[in-house]
């Protein structure tokens, strides 16, 4: 079979078919890439709002918002390993990245040293989202009609336990940050640094973030997306209102719940 030759028409058909199948295989990664763009846009919006507010009480928001960004980078690497495909990004991706970095730097500079208009944070985040989301969106449009292969929905026991632990960590860091106490803020910031180091050092170990990302199917990614949505959506109102401890705990539980629930075993239907 390896040595047999093909008719020219068959050869062209085979090339087209394999390319379509490979593009379909990458659709889950493109959906995750699109989500990542929205997520980054949300983070930059929150970051510029905090920077523009110049209020020490809500500076802790940066500590709350940072862990999911650090964690998501390693989880995405795991998703690539799961899909069996790692895309080597082309020039368009690096141009978008360079523009996005320039936009963030300009946003920081204008916010810190200038008098930015009120709409500045509202525009910067979505602009980053658009820049980073354009390529995955274009690829999804190009491969529409192809079957999206997410793989098995069953989560391993290790993956389930690690996912619940991750949900608990995100809930804890959200609740701790929402208290707004200087000591607690310090603890949260220390945890952020520890998570960053741990995720870099042990990301490909059995319990590492990359392994967790590799174990996730569509259900867990949706759970994680909802966890981040609650975390970012609730961060400003909860922190700005100098939350009562019970509100902070409720906020932490609401953050942890979607990801934790998505990791629980499903009942056979």
């Amino acid at each position: 079979m390896e040595s047999e030759r093909m008719d020219d028409h068959d050869a062209l058909r085979a090339v087209a078919t394999v390319r379509r199948r490979a593009a379909g295989r990458q659709r889950p990664l493109d959906w995750i890439g699109l989500w990542w763009a929205v997520f980054l846009g949300g983070y930059v919006t929150l970051f510029t709002v905090v920077l523009a507010a110049d209020d020490p009480d809500i500076q802790v928001l940066n500590a709350i918002a940072l862990p999911p960004i650090i964690i998501a980078g390693a989880l995405l690497e795991g998703a690539r390993a799961r899909s069996g495909i790692r895309r080597q990004e082309r020039a368009g991706f690096f141009v978008a990245m360079a523009i996005a970095v320039a936009v963030v730097l300009v946003a920081i500079g204008v916010t810190m040293f200038g008098e930015p208009p009120w709409w500045w944070p509202v525009v910067t985040g979505p602009l980053i989202g658009l820049l980073m989301g354009a390529l995955p969106a274009a690829r999804l449009l190009r491969s529409r009609g192809e079957r999206t292969v997410w793989g098995a929905e069953t989560l391993s026991r290790t993956g389930a336990v690690a996912s619940v632990a991750l949900a608990g960590f995100l809930g804890f860091s959200a609740a701790a940050g929402a208290f707004g106490h200087p000591v607690i803020t310090m603890v949260v910031l220390t945890i952020v640094v520890l998570v960053a180091v741990a995720s870099l050092v042990a990301s490909s170990s059995r319990w590492g973030l990359e392994s967790i990302g590799a174990s996730w199917a569509r259900r867990q990614w949706i759970g994680f997306a909802l966890t981040v949505l609650v975390l970012y959506g609730g961060a400003l109102p909860v922190t700005a209102a100098s939350a009562h401890p019970l509100v902070a705990v409720a906020y932490g539980l609401a953050v942890a719940a979607p990801l934790a629930l998505s990791a629980l075993p499903r009942r056979d239907r």
Binding site: M6, D8, L12, R19, R25, S205, G208
Partner: protein
């Protein structure tokens, strides 16, 4: 010697090698199990095709470990991508651009 048939690449005349290069041109970098599934072939012909294309510099192979398990990853080189593009262009010239 001007007939497009002379532009066909000898290394890409077999179905598995051609499909393998086509998959990697789209996916860039894929693991062995994914390629086996995409191409719908057994391990042995896929291994032979990878070894052949690696020997002539069209592919690069590396092992990576995740969660304690090693996996083989295969990527197309620049030479491999250019060879596939030239081969497909020759096929299109021969067939008038139609798969048939």
């Amino acid at each position: 010697m001007n007939h497009p048939r002379h532009q066909l690449d000898e290394a890409l005349l077999t179905p598995v090698r051609l499909s393998l290069m086509a998959a990697l041109a789209e996916a860039n970098n894929a693991d062995f199990a994914t390629l086996r599934e995409l191409l719908d072939v057994a391990d042995s012909p896929l291994s032979k095709a990878i070894s052949h294309l690696q020997a002539i510099g069209y592919l690069r192979v590396e092992k990576r470990t995740l969660g304690g398990r090693a996996r083989t990853w295969v990527a197309a080189t620049g030479d491999g991508r250019r060879a596939l593009a030239a081969h497909v262009a020759a096929l299109q010239a021969i067939t008038g651009g139609r798969p048939g």
